[in-house]
Every structure is written in C-alpha cells, then in structure tokens.
C-alpha cells in the first residue's frame, strides 16, 4: 500500500481504498473496539485520578516506549517489503517480512517480561481498575501481534504482491492501535 495499490482500474469512492475492502472493515472494527476501550479507561479514571496515578507508577513506560520503537520499525520493514515486492525484489521483500516478524517477537518478549514483573508485584486484574484495563487492552493487543506474526509468515510464503498488501495492512493496524494505546495507558493513566 505504500508505493501504489496493487488493485488496478477501479472507480468510485469506495474503490479508492487501497488493498482489500474487507481488511478495511476489519481495521475500522478494531479501531472502534480499542477506541471504546481507551475512552472507557479515561472515563473510569475520572472517578479516581489519584488512584490511577498511583497504580500507573507500577507499570513500565520505558519498556513500553522501547516497544513503540520496535513496533513502528517493524511496520516500516513491512511497508518496505511491499515496495520491494512491487519492484520485483522478491528475496529482499521476504527478508524484510522476516525482520518484521523478528521485531514482532521482540515486542512479545518485552511484553512478557513486563507482565511477569507486574504480576510479580502481586498485581492482578482485580487490584485496581487501571490494571483491569491494562491487562485487557494490552493483552488483546498482544494477541493481535501474535496473529500479525502468523499473517506475516503466511505472506512471506505466499508472496504475491496482493497478499503482501493485505497482510501488511493488518500489521499496520496493530501498529496504529499501539500508538494510541501506549500514551493513554502508560503515560496518562
């Protein structure tokens, strides 16, 4: 979707959308779900801002910041993969997709370390509403990262340009959700 849509000769406003329409339906659905979750998080925070600030001090914004760099770099590599595939650089495209998957795995490892540390402090979903949202939203997002890595593996194998365009769109959606989730949960909570 970066250098130009693979889909050719379409017309109409709906058909202007790059890539697959159903992927956009999925992207919008996911944005609505996570968007509602983040709005609810800030809504509940109104009832106990001091408690939220104290609870947030148990999280790891530095690790989450590193994960932001990891994920947007992974998204960059996925975007470059489509560019390269469209320019007939099949091996280079696969290499970039592989690197994007590795960074996705790094994201999960850091996230796992973070969960282990927070849980090690005796913090569960019941401890404070902030942690209920924290585990729910970041856990749901991590599940999408796992799905995204599987999709990247699939399109590295079946590497038609159209497949790469649609598959990387899912990965960019995961990226997009994280850049909204990170500041709200880790920096503003």
């Amino acid at each position: 979707m970066v250098s130009g849509s693979v889909t050719q000769a379409r017309s109409g406003t709906l058909d202007e959308l790059p890539g697959d329409l159903m992927m956009w339906v999925l992207i919008i659905s996911e944005l609505l779900v996570f968007g509602a979750g983040l709005a609810a998080f800030l809504g509940v925070r109104i009832t106990d801002p001091a408690g939220f600030a104290e609870a947030r001090s148990h999280l790891h914004p530095a690790l989450a910041g590193i994960n932001t760099i990891v994920l947007i770099t992974s998204g960059f590599l996925a975007a470059r993969a489509l560019d390269l595939r469209l320019k007939k650089g099949r091996a280079a495209a696969r290499l970039h997709l592989g690197a994007a998957m590795v960074l996705g795995t790094v994201f999960l490892v850091i996230k796992g370390y973070e969960y282990a540390d927070v849980a090690g402090q005796g913090i569960s979903t019941e401890t404070h509403p902030l942690f209920t949202f924290y585990y729910l939203l970041t856990g749901f997002h991590a599940a999408h990262v796992v799905a995204g890595i599987a999709i990247l593996a699939l399109i590295a194998w079946k590497d038609a340009p159209r497949n790469i365009e649609v598959g990387t769109a899912f990965w960019h959606m995961v990226d997009l959700v994280w850049v909204l989730l990170f500041p709200v949960i880790y920096l503003l909570g």
Binding site: E16, P18, V179, L188
Partner: protein, 90 residues
Amino acid sequence: MTKDPTTRAWLVLLLLSGASVLAAVLAGGSFSKSVIGVFVLLFAWMKARVILSRYLGLWQAPTWLSGFNWALGFYGLLLIGLYLIPAFTA
C-alpha cells in the same frame, strides 16, 4: 532527510514517539501535567495520521484520508476532554 516517503514516515514516527516520552518525563517536573498530557495525545494523533497515510497507503485515497483524519481528530478531542475533566473538577 531521505526522499523516500516510507523512510521519512518512519523517521517522523520515531521523532514523535521520542517527543511523547520526553513530554511524559517533563510532566514529572515543573510543567503542568494537564498541558503535557494534551501534547502527548496530540503526538499520538499525529502518529496515527502518519500510519494511516503512509503505512496503510491512504495518501492514494484523499477522501478517505480526510475522513479518517476528521474521525481521529474528534476522537482525540474526546480523549483530551476525558483526560482533562479531573483537572477541572479537582
């Protein structure tokens, strides 16, 4: 800076992410926490715009890009409003 739009988008995202973290660090200092929070949300909105435009390719569909930008803008205002309510009711 590079002329490749994808690389440029990545660099902008890195810059905005760094700015968000820096702003959050400043919030622990003498700067107003509420003002810093608004900036952090603005940076998030700008990052989302870059991802939609360059990574997801909406630069090819200006009508859709504009629609997404407006919707995200209103959503950002909602988040800013919810974030600032405790500061005004304290």
